[in-house]
């Protein structure tokens, strides 16, 4: 289930994540092999509870696997210390969550610059970069707003801007449109399309077939196992909205 033309930016081999013991043992991720090339958009699809979010957490070093290995840009990360994983998340991997996970007491621009500040950027550089990103995402006029004053789509855009602030190798998105209405979903899809054109590597976990259809490749997941891989073309034609039926 992998593409071997270029060295993969993200590589998982026999990846496993188990919870519990004995009869209560649950295999959330059960021997997953996966290669993702730079610039590729990959969708992982499956019903709730199939293990796709867990897989995403393992790929980004947010959780530790029970077995197998994960390599990011050729470097094995599953055996790194918590500290090293944290440093890696500052620069190489970033997340977009379904429920946005913005700091409620920080304005949009302060949320976006947080990753850069954690990575050691100067306050001025971090703020400039955050404002540029918000501008590019159409939120320049909302940069001083608190999350509570933003719509769902705007909040997710802020979360995406935060994910991009350190120019990561890979953006991992966990049900990024799960909490959004149709209009906001379209907004986010168009945003991902732009990121794709820009060459950003994206891994999107979703149970929505319309979202998955926008990727270069789509994997189906059941009971912790990737059971099917589909190569798509919709993700590269720039007509995402039309493709998924969200616009004419």
């Amino acid at each position: 289930m992998s593409e071997t033309a270029d060295p993969p930016v993200l590589h998982a081999r026999a990846l496993r994540k188990e919870y519990g013991k004995g009869e209560g043992l649950v295999r959330a991720v059960d021997g997953v092999d996966l290669d993702i090339r730079a610039g590729e958009t990959v969708a992982i699809m499956g019903p709730s509870g199939c293990g796709k979010s867990t897989l995403l957490h393992l790929l980004g070093g947010l959780d530790r696997p029970s077995g197998g290995e994960v390599l990011l840009n050729g470097r094995r990360i599953d055996n790194l210390s918590e500290k090293a994983l944290a440093r890696m998340r500052r620069t190489d991997v970033s997340y977009v969550f379904q429920s946005f996970h913005l700091m409620e007491e920080l304005t949009a621009v302060e949320n976006v610059e947080l990753s850069a500040l954690l990575a050691g950027c100067s306050p001025r550089t971090a703020r400039r970069r955050a404002e540029e990103l918000l501008d590019q995402l159409g939120l320049a006029g909302r940069s001083k707003f608190l999350p509570s004053a933003l719509s769902g789509g705007q909040r997710q855009r802020v979360a995406v801007a935060r994910a991009l602030s350190n120019e990561p190798l890979v953006v991992l998105a966990d049900e990024p449109t799960g909490n959004l209405d149709s209009a906001a979903t379209l907004d986010v899809l168009q945003l991902f399309d732009e990121l794709h054109e820009y060459g950003q590597t994206l891994v999107i976990v979703t149970h929505d077939a319309r979202i998955a259809a926008t990727a270069d490749r789509m994997f189906s997941m059941r009971d912790g196992v990737l059971i099917d891989e589909t190569r798509l073309t919709g993700g590269t034609n720039g007509k995402l909205g039309a493709l998924v039926g969200l616009e004419d």
């Binding site: 959780d63 440093r87 998340r89 970033s94 007491e105 500040l117 954690l118 703020r127």
Partner: protein
């Protein structure tokens, strides 16, 4: 009735579910109620033994003495004065030196009859009353000299056997005895380098011989004075009697003797009461943090109660009930512990009947301690309870957390700091009230320690220079020890509770920050430093607070503040640094646990 049952049942169930928090609540209130009980019980203990002694010895209302035999007629005239219902004496008194078990001490020797006196018949606690060739020692004096019945002593060059040990209400116990000899006395330690006049008695004890032996000793020991003990028709109006009959007579009322006899117990009581109020403040800080954190967790429970028809009043009653229940239990436990511990702090008064073990609870003490415990619980609980009761049912059911506070300038400042400090400031900015509680808690603790340091230095000088004997210093040191122990224990509980509450309240933001690249070490450091910074501020503010508290104690006890040795600069620096270090150590474990909580679990479990 049904509602009350429901409220009690819900309160009990919730307490059972959260045993650790209930235990912490209990400790906080218990510390305050125990200390308050000790203080109040000692107040009773201060006067009870004297009252018992007065009753047992038919103690005098007024003690009068004259320094010259020529004034003896004045005493005889006084015995028949208006208002006098009974009297004993005049008895001859001389100054002397007593040698016993290799020790020598100044004494006032009073000549008494072998028969029982109508007023002030000393109560023999060991042995028997005076007879020829035998001496009876005042109990506290015998205790200090370690002399027992049957021991030989020498008085004025003559040998006597100790017939007994007795207590009297006509004079404060040794070493606070009043002076009834012609030569004069001085109590307390003599500062080094100062010589007293040769004949002046120093810390004299009181002994009784037969009148005949006193008169015989007077031939070689010097002039006699005379003392008469009077009972008045109105014991409460001794001042008027003294004013009407003064002149060449020197008179002392039973109220004066009581004040001097119970001076030490009163000082202990003042220290404990001040300690109790400090601990009460700490308990409020503790409770506020615990209750605040707990109320946040109870949002959904409040929503459920309201959804099934609970009125805001019922909801508030349920939330308040469990804290009041804990406060009641803590008050009861505090009363028992305080009453049982108090005798350990009153053992100095061997010169009074039943002075050890007599402290007992009165209804006023029980009422006051219970009221304070309930008051502490209500003060700490009322605001969050009312807020919870007034919250919207829908948002409570949805468990919608209150958004954290935004302190814009602090967020702006934090961007210029290293990552751990950036996170620290933002944690601080989210919970400003908790930071204030942390500062107050440490400030109160450091103020208490400041006072303890000053008092400890003061007591250290006492056996050499002050008004307290070594035994009394030991008792007061016990009191300070109790105070210090409880204060430090409660401060430690506070530091841990505040840190843990911060960890719990910030679990989502901590997990998110780690997902964005903060290391567990940076997060743990931030959580710990968020406690250490308020601790530093509290420690610094506690120093002037301690100075003010010490001044207040001086004012209340009538102490000589100018003579007190305040903590030195190095002691103050050590206190601040030590406090900050202690807080850092105490908060390390909860901060480390908080900084290493699994990120994914928290982010999946909690909404943004």
């Amino acid at each position: 009735m049904g509602r009350i049952l429901l409220v009690v049942r819900l309160a009990l169930r919730d307490l059972r579910q959260r045993r650790t928090e209930a235990a912490l609540l209990m400790i906080a209130i218990l510390a305050a109620t125990t200390t308050l009980t000790l203080g109040l019980v000692l107040r009773e203990a201060a006067s009870d033994p004297y009252e018992s002694t007065r009753a047992a010895t038919n103690g005098p209302d007024v003690v009068a003495h004259v320094a010259r035999p020529t004034d003896l007629a004045l005493l005889e005239e006084l015995a028949t004065a208006s208002g006098v219902t009974a009297h004993s004496g005049p008895y001859p008194v001389i100054a002397g030196r007593l040698q016993a078990a290799g020790r020598t001490s100044d004494v006032q020797v009073e000549g008494r009859d072998a028969t029982i006196a109508a007023v002030d018949q000393p109560e023999v606690t060991q042995g028997s009353w005076v007879s020829g060739g035998q001496v009876v020692l005042e109990a506290a004096f015998a205790d200090a000299l370690d002399v027992n019945v049957g021991d030989p002593v020498t008085l004025g060059g003559k040998s006597f056997t100790v017939a007994g040990v007795a207590v009297t209400a006509a004079m404060p116990p040794h070493p606070a005895a009043s002076c009834i000899v012609t030569t004069g006395c001085v109590n307390g330690a003599i500062p080094q380098g100062r010589n007293l006049p040769a004949r002046l008695l120093h810390n004299p004890g009181l002994v009784w011989l037969t009148q005949a032996e006193v008169r015989s000793l007077a031939l070689t020991q010097g002039p006699m004075s005379y003392v008469t003990n009077l009972k008045l028709a109105d014991p409460g109006d001794t001042q008027a009697f003294v004013a009407a009959n003064s002149g060449a007579l020197i008179m002392q009322t039973w109220q004066d003797i009581l004040a001097e006899a119970t001076d030490l117990a009163k000082d202990s009581q003042i220290l404990l009461l001040i300690g109790a109020w400090l601990l009460g403040l700490l308990a409020i800080a503790s409770l506020s943090v615990l209750v605040g954190g707990r109320m946040a967790d109870q949002t959904r429970r409040v929503g459920l109660l309201k959804a099934v028809g609970g009125t805001p009043g019922l909801v508030a009653a349920v939330l308040l009930a469990e804290y009041l229940l804990v406060a009641l239990i803590a008050a009861a436990a505090g009363l028992v512990i305080g009453a049982l511990t108090a005798p350990l702090l009153t053992e100095s008064s061997a010169g009074l009947v039943g002075s050890a073990g007599t402290p007992s609870l009165t209804w006023s003490t029980i009422g006051l301690v219970t009221a304070v415990a309930l008051g502490v619980a209500v003060v700490a609980t009322a605001v969050p309870a009312v807020r919870g009761a007034r919250s919207s049912t829908v948002s409570a059911l949805a468990n919608a957390a209150r958004p954290p506070r935004r302190t814009g300038w602090l967020i702006a400042v934090s961007t210029r700091l290293p990552v751990p400090l950036l996170l620290t400031l933002r944690l601080t900015a989210r919970q400003p009230r908790r930071v204030v509680l942390g500062v107050v808690s440490i400030g109160v603790t450091v103020s208490g320690i400041y006072v303890l340091l000053a008092l400890n230095t003061f007591l250290g000088d006492q056996p050499g220079t002050g008004a307290y004997s070594e035994a009394q210093v030991i008792v007061l040191r016990h009191v300070l020890g109790v105070w210090m122990g409880v204060l430090l224990a409660l401060a430690a509980v506070n530091a841990i509770v505040i840190t843990w509450a911060t960890v719990l309240d910030n679990r989502h933001s901590s997990a998110l920050t780690r997902a964005l690249g903060a290391t567990p070490g940076e997060m743990s450091t931030a959580l710990a430093v968020a406690q250490v910074l308020p601790a530093f501020a509290g420690a610094v503010l506690g120093l002037p607070g301690g100075f003010a508290l010490f001044a207040a104690i001086n004012a209340i006890t009538g102490g000589d503040g100018d003579r007190a040795v305040l903590p030195s600069l190095w002691q103050l620096l050590t206190l601040v640094v030590g406090t900050v270090f202690a807080v850092a150590v105490l908060t390390t474990v909860p901060a480390c646990i908080g900084g290493r909580r699994p990120v994914t679990e928290t982010l999946q479990a909690e909404p943004a």
